[in-house]
């Protein structure tokens, strides 16, 4: 197994993590641990949000770039880490 696979596996088995998914540049999920409908929903919505966030950061300072995005809600926390071509989304329940 490559290192990345191992890292993803570790993330998935970490305490409180509900699901992980990898989405490509067009918003199509490539790899997911959740069911199909949820995945498609998350992928589509978070993809748009990430693009918006990225453009916001860039507008403020063109030299700057988005490293990651964290959305904490009542129920859980969604963490999005954009990469060159992909988007890694992890949903965790932190308070357990």
């Amino acid at each position: 197994m490559t290192e990345v696979e191992e890292t993803l596996k570790r993330i998935q088995s970490h305490k409180g993590v509900i699901g992980t998914m990898v989405v490509n540049a067009e918003g199509i999920p490539i790899r997911t641990t959740l069911d199909n409908s949820t995945t498609v929903q998350y992928a589509g919505l978070l993809h748009q949000l990430t693009i918006k966030a990225k453009s916001t950061i860039r507008d403020i300072d063109p030299q700057n770039d988005l490293t990651f995005l964290r959305i904490r809600s009542k129920k859980h926390e969604i963490m999005v880490a954009p990469d060159k071509e992909y988007l890694l989304i992890v949903i965790q329940n932190p308070c357990e």
């Binding site: 990345v4 696979e5 199509i28 490539i30 069911d35 990651f68 954009p82 071509e85 932190p94």
Partner: protein, 649 residues
């Protein structure tokens, strides 16, 4: 017995001739007697002349059924007795003539069959005659009966010939249904019995179907999961931060408020615990913070047990990810010591139990060390107890020192990607060459267990040995020591120079003591007895008077000489399980945390409470001076007190 020839006087053949006749068996019939009657008796010339008495003698002849040709002495071997034994009864039958005949008894199966067939044939012939006569009657009605009668007997042949084929055909057809078909030669019969057939019944059972989930995925040739590596690392840290959120908050912000009420004592707050499955059975043998990245530290795993030597591991952890190390390296021999280069924080020098030294390059992803010593290139013959990077030499080659129990202190230089070694010093045990005749000088080798280089005076360094002595050596002198200190009763486990004060160093040993020295004085300044073998000591980087010592009973002792010269200000058991020995301790250069490693392979990170980090109090009106000078002055003051006391006594 041969029948007596008919009594006729004419025949006088004599008894001897009669005897002969017995064997030959030819008899003279009546007719021949009559024929020989006319002739006169002739007496053969060779006839026996017997007297009357002899003539009248009667000879008894017995007729038995014995076969004269049958053997009378057949013997057969008897296995029971192991000898040849004569058979009592011998077969007396003599076969004179035998012929295989083809007569079949009338009552046997075959005989009956044949008989039946014959009957059939006879019956058919008669039926032929009857049919024929009928046919002729039918065909030739005009012919008179007389002719038919005749035809019945004589002329049946020609019309028979004509109608033979017809008749034969007719014969055939009535024959077949009458004749029994013989399928094979053997008369056999089938015998069968059938039991009652039970009606067949189906019996089924069905469990609940197991739960099924749909798995769907799309695979694309251009999709490569490895490009997400950077993002994955970031996310892993985020996830960990969420899980250990309270610990991270403590690390950053928590200051023990209770310290105000505790006179002088301080506490250690446990933060993170680091452990890895692969290094579970291995003890922590070395700890080192990375000089550049303050959250990264290296852990060396191996075994102190002489009997149970196995592999070693080098792990690098970051405080940002307590669940999994950033780098993992595995080695065949246990790692005993390690050091990270100050200028090149990606170079880690390690020393192994088997005497080898190696350099790992963290920038390169390979699992093997970049450079390794070998028996050819002068590795140590005993475990390497300490390695330390030095400044680059004149040719800008990387350079580090190692000390080992084989008594050699070796300088390794990385010349064009090869490790070249130079013996700097061979430790000799002094005083062991007395009472030895001239010419024979035994040099017993001392075993080095720890060393430390002076912070400012480059060439000077201290070596601790197994015998408990500490030698002050110089890199330039290879055979002589600058100074010797009779430090301990058992092996010296660690020696460290004070980070601020250039004259002060500290040593610890398995003889339960920690001693603080001034290198110009042969006797220690301070001695502390800790009730258990001391594994390691370390000076705090922020103060010249604070240091920590760890013991094998699982306790961490923190001392501040400025506050309390005689006792520890913190005395805390740190390990979860009893009987776990703490092997090493290191202060973080920036943050107020220490890491302790134990012999189970676990590393615990602890936060120092404020009391342990006390800076000199500000005097009203005076500016607080910070910096090394202050620290040195602080320690000097203390030492002077001690020295004065000593001089007085």
């Amino acid at each position: 017995m041969a029948p007596k020839p008919p009594h006729k006087q004419s025949v006088s053949m004599g008894r001897g001739a009669r005897k002969r006749d017995d064997d030959s068996g030819t008899e003279v019939g009546e007719g021949t007697d009559e024929w020989t009657q006319s002739k006169a008796t002739v007496r053969p010339p060779d006839q026996l002349d017997l007297t009357d008495a002899e003539l009248k003698e009667e000879f008894t002849r017995i007729l038995t059924a014995n076969n004269p040709h049958a053997p009378q002495n057949i013997v057969r071997y008897s296995f029971k007795e192991g000898t040849y034994k004569p058979i009592g009864f011998v077969n007396q039958m003599a076969v004179h003539f035998s012929q295989v005949g083809n007569l079949i008894p009338k009552d046997s199966d075959e005989g009956r069959r044949q008989h039946y067939r014959d009957e059939l044939a006879a019956g058919s012939l008669e039926s032929v005659k009857a049919v024929l006569s009928d046919a002729e009657i039918l065909e030739e009605d005009e012919e008179p009966k007389e002719v038919e009668m005749e035809a019945g007997s004589q002329t049946e042949l020609p019309p028979a010939e004509v109608a033979e084929t017809v008749i034969e055909e007719e014969l055939m057809t009535p024959k077949q249904p009458k004749e029994r078909k013989l399928t094979n030669q053997f008369n056999f019969s089938d015998r069968a019995s059938q039991t009652l057939n039970h009606p067949v019944r189906d019996r089924e059972c069905q469990m609940e179907p197991p739960p099924r989930t749909n798995f769907s995925a799309t695979a694309n040739q251009s999709d490569d999961i490895t490009k997400v590596s950077q993002a994955a690392k970031i996310v892993e840290r985020m996830v960990n931060q969420n899980t250990y959120d309270d610990v991270a908050q403590d690390f950053k912000y928590y200051e023990d408020a209770a310290d105000e009420y505790r006179d002088q004592e301080g506490t250690l707050l446990p933060l993170w615990k680091f452990q890895n499955d692969k290094a579970k059975r291995l003890a922590v043998t070395a700890l080192c913070w990375n000089p550049k990245y303050n959250d990264l530290f290296a852990v060396g795993h191996g075994s102190y047990d002489f009997m149970k030597q196995s592999r070693g591991m080098l792990l690098l952890y970051s405080l940002k990810n307590p669940s999994f190390p950033e780098y993992i390296f595995s080695s065949e021999s246990g790692i005993m010591c390690l050091d990270i280069h100050v200028d090149h924080p990606y170079l880690v020098a390690v020393g192994h139990y088997d005497g080898n030294v190696a350099i790992y390059n963290l920038k390169k992803p390979q699992a093997q060390p970049s450079f390794r010593s070998s028996p050819k290139s002068g590795k140590h013959t005993d475990p390497v107890w300490q390695v330390k990077w030095q400044k680059d030499d004149m040719d800008h080659n990387l350079n580090f020192f190692s000390v080992s129990s084989d008594g050699r202190i070796v300088s390794w230089t990385l010349v064009k990607s090869e490790l070249v070694h130079t013996d700097v010093i061979k430790l000799k045990v002094e005083g062991s060459t007395t009472d030895v005749p001239e010419g024979l000088q035994l040099h017993t080798v001392g075993c080095g267990t720890a060393f430390d280089f002076h912070k400012e005076i480059d060439y000077m360094f201290l070596v601790g040995t197994e015998e408990g002595k500490i030698y002050k050596c110089s890199k330039s002198y290879s055979s002589q020591f600058l100074d010797t200190y009779d430090a301990h009763n058992m092996a010296v486990d660690a020696v460290t120079w004070n980070p601020y004060h250039t004259k002060v160093f500290m040593s610890c040993s398995s003889d339960w003591t920690v001693k603080i020295w001034d290198h110009t004085i042969k006797t220690p300044m301070f001695i502390y007895d800790l009730n258990s073998a001391v594994g390691d000591v370390a000076w705090a980087p922020y103060s010249s008077t604070v240091f920590a010592a760890v013991t094998t009973d699982g306790k961490v002792h923190v001392f501040d000489l400025a506050i309390n010269k005689y006792e520890a200000i913190c005395n805390q058991p740190v390990v979860a399980r009893k009987k776990t020995k703490i092997t090493h301790v290191e202060f973080n250069p920036i943050y107020p945390i220490i890491i302790v490693g134990d012999d189970r392979g676990h590393i615990t990170c602890l936060k120092l409470s404020p009391n342990l980090r006390k800076m000199p109090k500000e005097k009203k009106g005076q500016e607080v001076q910070k910096g090394p000078a202050v620290e040195i002055a602080k320690l000097d003051k203390l030492l002077n007190l001690v020295r004065e006391v000593k001089i007085k006594t």
